[in-house]
Amino acid sequence: MNELLRRLFFLPEQGSTFAVKVDHLHYVLLLTTLAVGAGIGAVGLVFLVRYRRRTASDPTPRVLAPTWLEALFIGVPLSLFLLWFVLGFKQFVWVMSPPQDALDVYVTGKQWMWKFTYPGGPSAIDTLVVPAGRPVRLLLTSRDVIHSFYVPDFRMKRDAIPGRYTDLWFEAPKPGRHQVLCAEYCGLDHSQMRGEVVVLPHSDFEAWQDAQRRNLPVAAEPMAVRGERIAAAQGCLQCHTVTGAPHIGPTWLGLYGRQEPLEGGGAVLADEAYLTESMMDPLAKVVAGYAPVMPGYHGRLSAEDSGALVEFIKSLRPTRPGVTAAEEPVYVPTGR
């Protein structure tokens, strides 16, 4: 049944756990629309034939809709739409909340290619390799204009915006290959900005990652290590300590995943999005107790560099048993 409807509505292969969920709602909406449309068409057709004009001066009665009928016309679609809204929004919240054990991959859109960087080291252009049966979280940003990372087989797209991180998560249950397209118009070769997600069995994925690290020693520098280098070169460490001691700015030790109280009330979860925002637009949300003195780094940090800094900050967690370095980051879901 699923397969039949999927082909009937020209929907592509179901490459993610979300696609399987969301397609059922696709079918319900499209089938209801077709059925109600057919009903309205049939009623209209009956009226056209039954009440066609016979003489130039047919008398017609004055007919007004009774109030109960008007109420029905409003009530039936309203309850239908509300039902769809509730079902759809539950799925939306689910797909907007990445699970904690996801594998992070940094994605940078650039006219006109996709760059994928793994926190552990290797990076690739236009081909994203992920393990099957494991949630993957993509941290998206852009080097130039807005792009949108779209995998039709996953039923999912998310904009990549310069100067900030958005995220997207999926779990591909089976090994296979899925096309990546750019869904936000981004200029001359927008239509050529294509990539591929390659889903490998778990063991093959491990082997692929090892091979990547062996073959590309320079690019294989882990992002956290690179981030530490950049932090020193950019002078970040003149204001931020990595030891837990507050200085001109908040310490980076244990910063990631912490609720930070804000100057002027409220609090913010220090996740990838907030850390990036603070690099690009430091005065937007200043942590309580610190002077608003940090300069903006947009244009001075490439997307890869800001991602590396985030990874470096993520690696600086107070020593706790069972938690090790940034190879497989553990983080609090953003809960947005």
């Binding site: 509505f9 020209f10 969301v22 709602l25 909406l29 499209l30 629309t33 309205i40 009623v43 209209g44 009226f47 056209l48 009440y51 004009r53 130039a56 017609t60 009665p61 004055r62 007919v63 007004l64 809709a65 008007e70 016309f73 409003i74 509300l82 769809w84 809204f85 079902l87 759809g88 929004f89 939306f92 919240v93 797909v95 907007m96 204009v145 807005i146 949108s148 779209y150 039709p152 087989d153 039923r155 999912m156 797209k157 998310r158 904009d159 915006i161 310069p162 900030r164 750019c182 869904a183 118009y185 200029g187 070769d189 927008h190 239509s191 294509r194 690009m280 937007a284 903006g296 947009h298």
Partner: protein, 535 residues
């Protein structure tokens, strides 16, 4: 029945100068009609070129840059030079004073100024096209629009100027409906077309200034690097999208509400019935005008706005569909027990109702947040808004053109040819845009100059449909032009309509009425009290 002494508005002064300096709302309406038809032709030629390019993957007719410019100009031309002014500025100007028993609109000089502003704006935008044209899409999303090297500025400025024409027209209608209704014509006796134009005018006056502002901000950003939308200067690229859609989503209702007014008139006239639920049509018109302002965020579900915000915008968007559903039910109810004449305006009306239903229901599907993540920015969206803009607004425009052609020109057109063309247009429309829904389901993104080969068969189907549509439009242009000269003389009321505008002569005299009309009953009343309710 009108005395022969009164000269029609067409013959009162025959020089070009008398047209260029006229304050007569009917002449201004006709001028708008001519101008918008011209730009409909221009936008249509762009559309055909795009469809031919998409016939095959790879290069067919033009390169990527030419394609990107062409879809931008297609959008700009169709949205601002055709859709938005087509029904309100052309038919609204012609009909609103006639329908409410006024001699003219409230500010006739301002009305003329709105024509000149439109022409000025269109000229600036056209100049931009000859300068090479913008390649941003009609949405001008930053940061692309602030960084691309193409002629974005003249196109922006053209649209900015046209915005003033829209605002003036809206202002004029609001003042006219409030102050110039004939004695005895209460609000609840207003024709449904007037209500639709009134609702539209409110949106025009409230939303268009926001468009003007955001276009100026983009211009500032381009010229002096103001940094409002540039993250490098602390700006926010998404701010543009919020401001832009705050105008442009209500702008969809600037295009659709007037067409709903046309349909309400046509359904009553061609089934010879009172409106099934007049009050509900009126309230839903005002409802759409109001709720339309709270739905803009549904363009941004995939942009990274807050999850809860997306949910709120999704729910608000569904309310628009409720208001639309009320109207569709009421039109259907109006046909019940009527005396239905299948003239071409009614054929377009039936097409309109069907396309509006499907377009609207797919709109509900997109407001369902989780489903939107697949469909957003694909051809499915292209098909959806073409269902609303071509399937609804153009159908209604054609219905209006045929319904009021005798009123405006005093001539009839060949009915059989018109019916044939209407059927051709409806089938051409289905063949053009249904494949695009399927393309979107398959995952074909919008604004693609080129595409992976597995999308091709559906593109071929769509292009074939577009050529049918083109033949339909050519046929209409042919027989209407012929009828202007050789059509049978229409008489005051060839359709036997009870619409208030038919109480003056066809074509109407300069000051509309030789005797002041009276309004003892509500609009669209066909049954006298004596007619038995059981037929």
């Amino acid at each position: 029945m009108s005395p022969p002494a009164a000269e029609s508005y067409l013959t009162d002064g025959r020089t070009v100068w008398s047209w260029l300096t006229t304050h007569d709302h009917k002449r201004i309406g006709v001028m708008f009609l001519g101008l918008t038809l011209f730009f409909f032709l221009v936008g249509g030629v762009f559309a055909l070129a795009l469809r031919i390019e998409l016939l095959t993957p790879g290069r067919t007719l033009m390169g990527h840059l030419a394609y990107n410019r062409m879809f931008t100009l297609h959008g700009v031309t169709m949205v601002w030079l055709f859709m938005i002014p087509a029904i309100p500025s052309a038919f609204g100007n012609f009909l609103v004073p006639l329908m409410i028993g006024a001699r003219d609109v409230a500010f006739p000089r301002l009305n003329l100024a709105s024509v000149y502003l439109y022409v000025l704006g269109a000229s600036v935008a056209l100049w931009g096209m000859f300068e090479g044209g913008a390649d941003t899409g009609w949405t001008f999303y930053t940061p692309y629009s602030t960084t691309t090297g193409t002629a974005v500025l003249p196109v922006l400025m053209g649209v900015f100027i046209i915005g003033f024409s829209t605002i003036l027209t809206g202002l004029n209608f609001i003042a006219t409906v409030h102050t110039l209704r004939a004695p005895g014509l209460t609000w609840m006796k207003l024709p449904l077309f007037v209500w639709a134009i009134y609702g539209t005018s409110i949106i025009q006056v409230l939303a268009t200034p926001v468009l003007g502002m955001v276009l100026l901000l983009v211009a500032l950003e381009r010229v002096v690097g103001a940094g409002i939308f540039d993250p490098a200067r602390g700006g926010d690229p998404l701010l543009f999208q919020h401001l832009f859609w705050f105008y442009s989503h209500p702008a969809v209702y600037i295009m659709v509400l007037p067409s709903m007014g046309v349909i309400s008139e046509a359904v009553c006239a061609f089934s010879r019935k009172n409106a099934f639920s007049y009050r509900m049509i009126v309230y839903s018109t005002l409802g759409i005008a109001f709720v339309g302002f709270f739905t803009w965020g549904h363009h941004m579900f995939a942009s990274g706005q807050s999850t809860f915000g997306s949910g709120a915008f999704g729910a608000m968007s569904m309310l628009v569909a409720i208001f639309t559903a009320i109207k569709i039910f009421s039109w259907l109810g109006t046909l019940y027990r009527g005396s239905i004449a299948l003239e071409s305006p009614l054929l377009y009306t039936l097409g309109f109702m069907f396309f509006l239903f499907f377009g609207g229901m797919i709109g509900v599907a997109y407001s369902t947040t989780s489903l939107n993540l697949h469909w957003h920015d694909t051809y499915s969206v292209v098909a959806h808004f073409h269902f609303i803009m071509v399937g609804a607004t153009v159908m209604a425009f054609l219905a209006a053109l045929h319904y009021w052609f005798p009123k405006m020109s005093g001539r009839c057109f060949p009915a059989k040819l018109a019916n044939g063309a209407a059927v051709l247009i409806i089938f051409g429309f289905i063949a053009t845009f249904v494949p695009q829904f399927l393309l979107g389901n398959l995952g074909m993104p919008r604004r693609y100059a080129d595409y992976p080969p597995h999308f091709q068969s559906l593109h071929v189907a769509s292009t074939a449909g577009a050529s049918l549509l083109a033949f339909g439009f050519l046929a209409i242009a042919g027989y209407l032009a012929w009828s202007l000269r050789y059509g049978a003389v229409a008489g005051a009321n060839p359709w036997g309509s009870e619409g208030f505008e038919w109480r003056s002569a066809s074509p109407p005299p300069t000051h509309n009425f030789s005797t002041p009309p009276e309004y003892p009953t509500g609009p669209h009343e066909y049954a006298s009290e004596e007619v038995p309710h059981a037929a």
